[in-house]
């Protein structure tokens, strides 16, 4: 286990030794800030106008949900940037030789890389909590909804990271890793909308919708926690970590 943390700790330090770590924080929080400002502005406007038109004022929960949905979009851009270098850079600089000739298993390497990327993004997520906490400080939204939403986002993030690591392990070109991861995650995001055009109402549509991440995330954003949806993300992450492990281990006998 110590080998896993040795590898993870080195990766975390390396990320923050370069401008990369700061850039991730900057873009993530910057975009979140812009969205937050925009949504809040809209929210206040609608709340003011609601009595005039006789409609219902929007709720704080709706504001939060809008915010979290956008987090999903930002992650599609940020995750590939974090995972692209994990293996491809090491393979390109040949530093992977150091890991390959050390008494550590492929599984330990994969877990180390996964924990490193997950820890970096968990830090970003933790800092991004400033926006929901702001709402909490000045209003009274459902606190548990914030918690389940964050849990959902965290699980989604782990699943996406596993996918990104798998792509990264297969190429020595960081740009290719970035591109394929981004399109893969984007496809996963829009699969929900694409599904009906493939096979409307059929079994296949149901399957595609199940694979898509959006529906599962909705449940968390509604403040619910179900075994079904937690299992979806955990299985997703485990599957792609397993794939990464296979890719890495296969280099040993190929």
């Amino acid at each position: 286990m110590s080998a896993v943390f040795t590898i993870a700790w080195r990766d975390i330090r390396a990320t923050f030794a370069s401008p990369k770590g700061c850039a991730i924080f900057f873009f993530f929080l910057g975009f979140m800030g812009v969205f937050f400002y925009n949504f809040l502005h809209e929210f206040v406007k609608l709340t003011e106008r609601a009595p005039m038109y006789g409609g219902e004022a929007p709720t704080l929960e709706q504001l939060l949900r809008a915010l979290f949905y956008n987090l999903h979009f930002i992650l599609v851009l940020v995750i590939p940037a974090v995972t692209m270098s994990s293996f491809s850079e090491e393979r390109r600089n040949q530093t992977i030789r150091l890991l390959q000739t050390s008494p550590v298993t492929a599984t330990q390497i994969v877990l180390g890389k996964f924990i490193a990327t997950a820890a970096i993004l968990a830090m970003v997520l933790a800092v991004s909590a400033v926006y929901p906490l702001f709402i909490k400080a000045f209003g009274n939204p459902d606190g548990s909804l914030i918690l389940t939403s964050y849990l959902g986002i965290f699980l989604l993030m782990c699943a996406q990271l596993a996918f990104g690591l798998w792509v990264s392990s297969m190429t020595t070109n960081q740009f290719m890793a970035f591109l394929f991861t981004m399109f893969g995650l984007f496809l996963l995001l829009i699969l929900n909308w694409l599904a009906p055009s493939f096979n409307s109402g059929g079994l296949f549509e149901g399957l595609l919708k199940y694979i898509a991440s959006t529906d599962h995330l909705d449940v968390f954003f509604k403040g619910m926690l179900t075994v079904n949806d937690v299992a979806y993300f955990v299985c997703f992450a485990a599957l792609f970590l397993f794939f990464t492990n296979v890719v890495l281990d296969s280099q040993r006998w190929r």
Binding site: S18, N93, I96, T101, Q251
Partner: protein, 308 residues
């Protein structure tokens, strides 16, 4: 200590290795000699478990690298041809990282890192970033990474590549000082380096081992087909038929008419006293002996013969 048997490896249409086998005893330094692209790095990569072989096996300290990789790798220090350096790390941090990966107990971590840094005289740069160091320093950092956990077996792929003469000398001394407690394989395409540091030599050409033995064995093999050069004052044309009459002399020929130089070889197992006879012949025949010399023979001849 190291046992490589029957390694073959094919990259697409290129046959990189054909049935490579050799053994290294405990405490020996073995030179792995070959031209560029002969298969040195491929063999070493397979020995360290970085890539797999199509067939054959490699054992480190009795542990098969494919079957028991963790046990084998625990006893192994590897310096690849491209140094596996993390440019954004500090020297001491990097060496510590390598030590941790190789399961050096936490209590001894500091001591062993200090020792490795000391041995490669990296004390002045231990807090500098690896990326800011010169090539020679980087190579030494990479070497520190390989020896920090005191491995029983050291595999060094062209350890002195890109160093200046002083540093080469330093690294050679270091490698020699490591012998005995460590078993070392080092690859090189520079003969003199191998000749100076190694006990045994394995010569590889086009992916196959063409010769192996101790430095003396190989050198004496080169000597067995010795060639002499003789320079006389006059009548060089008549000297050749005369030399032909001596039994154990083969293929005498004029190589330089103007300077009156003749070259001749001694057949295998020939007595060196033949040379006395030749000298007598020349002096008595009134040719005027000016020079009689053994054409330099060394490992280079063996290497040249085997790889051409």
């Amino acid at each position: 200590m190291i046992e490589v048997s029957g390694l073959t490896k094919r990259f697409g249409s290129v046959q990189a290795l054909r049935d490579v086998s050799f053994k290294v005893e405990r405490g020996q330094i073995v030179g792995f000699l070959g031209a560029n692209g002969a298969g040195k790095t491929t063999t070493m990569d397979i020995m360290c478990g970085c890539i797999g072989a199509d067939s054959g096996s490699s054992k480190i300290a009795g542990f098969d690298i494919m079957e028991q990789p963790l046990e084998a790798k625990r006893r192994l220090g590897y310096l690849p041809d491209v140094a596996p350096l993390h440019m954004e790390m500090r020297v001491a941090d990097y060496v510590t990282f390598a030590a941790r990966l190789h399961k050096v107990p936490t209590l001894q971590l500091r001591k062993q890192v200090d020792e490795a840094v000391e041995r490669l005289s990296l004390g002045d740069v231990r807090h500098r970033l690896v990326g800011n160091l010169s090539k020679g320093y980087r190579q030494r950092v990479a070497l520190a990474q390989a020896i920090v956990h005191n491995p029983e077996v050291l595999i060094l792929d062209e350890p002195t590549e890109g160093l200046d003469p002083n540093q080469i000398l330093h690294i050679r001394e270091l490698i020699k000082s490591l012998a005995g407690q460590h078993t070392i394989i080092l690859s090189s395409h520079i003969l003199s380096e191998v000749q100076n540091t190694c006990d045994r030599i394995v010569i590889i050409h086009n992916g196959a081992v063409v010769q192996q033995g101790s430095v003396e064995e190989l050198a004496s093999q080169a000597a067995s087909g010795r060639i002499y050069r003789i320079r006389v004052a006059r009548n060089v044309d008549q000297l050749v038929p005369l030399l032909n009459t001596i039994n154990q002399i083969i293929a005498p020929r004029v190589i330089d008419k103007i300077n009156c130089e003749v070259e001749f070889g001694l057949s295998k197992g020939a007595d060196e006293q033949i040379v006395d006879e030749v000298a007598k012949l020349v002096v008595n025949g009134g040719y005027g002996l000016r020079e009689l010399a053994l054409k330099t023979h060394s490992l280079e001849d063996v290497f040249f013969q085997l790889t051409h």
